[in-house]
């Protein structure tokens, strides 16, 4: 059978099917009738005003708040990271599967030189454990070098330390991969600032308004032909507050 014949026979099949189904009544069995979503598919929102679950230590929480608010400070463009709920976001993440490293391979042994071999640092510790160790180390480092809590330092000094953590010139302790810890903080504060508000951060969709992201929409047919125009679409949360 050549290609042309194959296409013709396919057409004949379709036509026959159409004619048959047009004429006869038929009942389908086994249709799923229950259209309510399974609870497992629902997004699990952070309850506003809930208690901290992981970041319960005041000093640790003050330290991470100070770091986040230097990475995303309040300015004319929008609120700071902590004002936008990034601490609540982080706490909820650390209390859940992310904090437990559920998606990470954490079985030993970790061999010497493995970080270089994998071209990225490898951890047996969970993200939650890395925060605990990293925040304690940062606070101890600040006490040692500056004689004060990190959270109480001047903004410029905080920036200096953070830049040192980022470029590798500051090593908080031999136990903490400082550069990797900085990257973890930076990634999580971005996630908190730009994730859907139901997860605790991006309060009032401040992050989305800042960058003009329209939120949980999936259909832009109304706007497809309005090219070259500033649309200013109102952002929409997955579970709209009002």
């Amino acid at each position: 059978m050549n290609r042309r014949e194959a296409l013709f026979s396919l057409g004949a099949l379709t036509a026959a099917g159409t004619v048959a189904s047009r004429g006869a009544a038929a009942e389908m069995s086994g249709y799923p009738a229950d259209m309510a979503l399974d609870r497992g598919f629902l997004p699990r929102a952070v309850i506003p005003g809930g208690q901290m679950q992981v970041l319960t230590d005041d000093r640790q929480r003050a330290t991470v708040t100070a770091v986040f608010d230097r990475l995303i400070p309040a300015d004319d463009l929008g609120p700071s990271a902590s004002e936008a709920g990034c601490i609540e976001f982080l706490d909820a993440q650390l209390a859940g599967r992310y904090g437990a490293g559920a998606a990470l391979y954490r079985e030993g042994p970790k061999m010497a030189g493995e970080d270089a071999l994998s071209q990225s640092p490898q951890f047996i510790a969970t993200p939650s454990e890395r925060y605990e160790a990293g925040l304690n180390a940062l606070e101890a480092w600040a006490q040692k070098t500056d004689g004060a809590s990190f959270a109480d330092l001047q903004p410029d000094r905080k920036d200096e330390i953070l830049k040192g953590m980022e470029d590798g010139s500051v090593e908080l302790s031999s136990e903490v991969n400082t550069k990797a810890f900085f990257e973890l903080l930076l990634a999580n504060v971005r996630e908190g600032y730009f994730s859907d508000p139901i997860y605790g951060g991006n309060r009032d969709m401040a992050g989305w308004r800042l960058i003009g992201f329209p939120g949980a929409r999936y259909d832009y047919r109304l706007y497809a032909d309005r090219t070259g125009e500033k649309l200013d679409l109102e952002p929409v949360s997955l579970i709209p507050r009002d």
Partner: protein, 438 residues
């Protein structure tokens, strides 16, 4: 004392006269003389080979009357066991297979006529959940054919206690005699003179089709209110909408061809059957001939409607509607269309869809809270799904969205009350809205 005696005697005489009158009344109500045309000698289980043409015609009546809808459940075809929740307790549908002990195998044709058309079964009076009030209109010929069909059904042994779950005094079958005296008319079908198509449509609607069983409102004792014939009613949390000539919430502005297409395929490309109506299309209406469906449509469109008229439109562009319009765009428009145009036979349209505009939005609220499966048919087999939005929207948001679609584009409908959404969320045990963050 003499006075008292005279008084008492007078009362006694009155009571006697009333009792005699009631007796005649009861006798007339229970009278099944019409059914004398049926054979009273041969039991169903003893019928040998029935005339195949009569069986085929009988199957058509069975489809039109949708017997299987209530009499078929997991226990087998026509073996009964369907539990029907009524305001008076739970009824269980009976086994109507030809099994001699647990079904209707010992019944004669006359017994069958008495049961189907007059609500008098082998265990006593039937409950009007069995629409004998409508089946009374079925013609002798159609009954003979239906009987022939029933003789071909495979007997299934399944013992059913039909009224064990009814509350006293409704558990007493004889109580239905009183109900019948008040509400039952056992006379045959009398078409309005004139148009043969209308007469056929009326017969199919009022007789086997028993449309009014759901689409007519009922009084406190569960009897249909004749003055509101087919003007809509709530059944099991669904609105069976008005299906009269009313132009706002009925079929007045829908063509007979579209009504017939809806009945035969579950959608006319605009409105779409779901819930109990989807089942009516799937099990019954799609099996009817196009002529019968057109006749039913013609009759429905000729029925006088309620006086519900198009209300003042809630401006869909008003500030109160702003949030609803945005949520419509985000959650609804991908399937139902940015202009409410729907997706042909797959997804109902909203603009100009009169099924959306009923005064009582119960079905719309229910579909938002529970989701729904579109009806399917041989011609349009998809049966697309509408997801539940209970997890995403609170009562006020759902009410707002429904008010929006009832008033956007060319539509105008009464605003939806959040309290009704709250009530139905509770009654359906639908999910609460999930936490929505900060």
């Amino acid at each position: 004392m003499a006075n008292f005696k005279a008084f008492a005697g007078g009362v006694a005489a009155l009571v006697l006269i009333a009792a005699a009158g009631a007796g005649i009344w009861a006798w007339r109500t229970a009278d099944t003389w019409r059914n004398a045309v049926a054979d009273d000698a041969v039991a169903l289980a003893d019928i040998g080979a029935a005339d195949p043409e009569a069986v085929a015609r009988g199957e058509y009546i069975m489809r039109a009357a949708d017997c299987a809808a209530c009499h078929t459940r997991e226990q087998g075809d026509f073996a009964g066991g369907y539990e029907i929740a009524t305001p008076f307790g739970t009824l269980v549908s009976s086994n109507i297979t030809p099994d001699r002990e647990t079904g209707i195998g010992a019944m004669t044709e006359r017994d069958f006529f008495d049961a189907v058309r007059h609500g008098q079964g082998q265990k006593g009076f039937l409950y009007p959940a069995m629409p004998y009030t409508a089946y009374a209109r079925i013609s002798d010929q159609d009954m003979h054919d239906l009987w022939a069909y029933m003789s071909t059904v495979a007997p299934v042994r399944n013992s059913v206690d039909e009224n064990g779950g009814m509350a006293f005094p409704y558990s007493i079958r004889l109580a239905m005699l009183g109900w019948n005296m008040l509400f039952f008319d056992g006379s045959g079908f009398e078409p309005a003179p004139g148009n043969a198509q209308l007469a056929r449509g009326q017969y199919m609607v009022d007789g086997p089709g028993h449309c009014s069983a759901c689409h007519s409102p009922r009084n406190a004792l569960g009897a249909e209110i004749g003055s509101a014939y087919l003007q809509g009613a709530v059944v099991d949390g669904w609105l069976a909408p008005e299906i009269t000539s009313n132009r706002h919430q009925g079929l007045g502005d829908v063509s007979a061809a579209d009504v017939a297409e809806y009945l035969g395929t579950a959608t006319d490309g605009k409105a779409m059957a779901s819930g109990p109506m989807a089942e009516a299309v799937e099990h019954s209406l799609q099996y009817l001939t196009e002529d019968d469906r057109l006749a039913m449509a013609a009759w429905l469109k000729s029925v006088p409607g309620s006086d519900v008229a198009r209300p003042e439109q809630v401006d869909p562009a008003s500030p109160e509607m702003h949030g609803a319009a945005l949520q419509y765009e985000v959650s609804c428009s991908a399937c139902h269309g940015t202009r409410g145009e729907g997706m042909g036979d797959l997804v109902p349209a909203f603009d100009g869809n009169h099924a959306l505009l009923s005064e009582n939005p119960a079905s719309l609220v229910r579909v938002m809270l529970e989701g729904a499966r579109a009806g399917h048919s041989g011609a349009k087999p998809t049966g697309a799904g509408m997801p539940s939005f209970a997890w995403k929207y609170d009562d006020a948001q759902i009410a707002g969205l429904l008010t929006y679609i009832r008033n956007a584009w060319s539509n105008a409908g009464m605003p939806v009350d959040p309290a009704q959404v709250a009530d139905m969320r509770g009654a359906l045990a639908a999910r609460d809205k999930a936490a929505s963050g900060f």
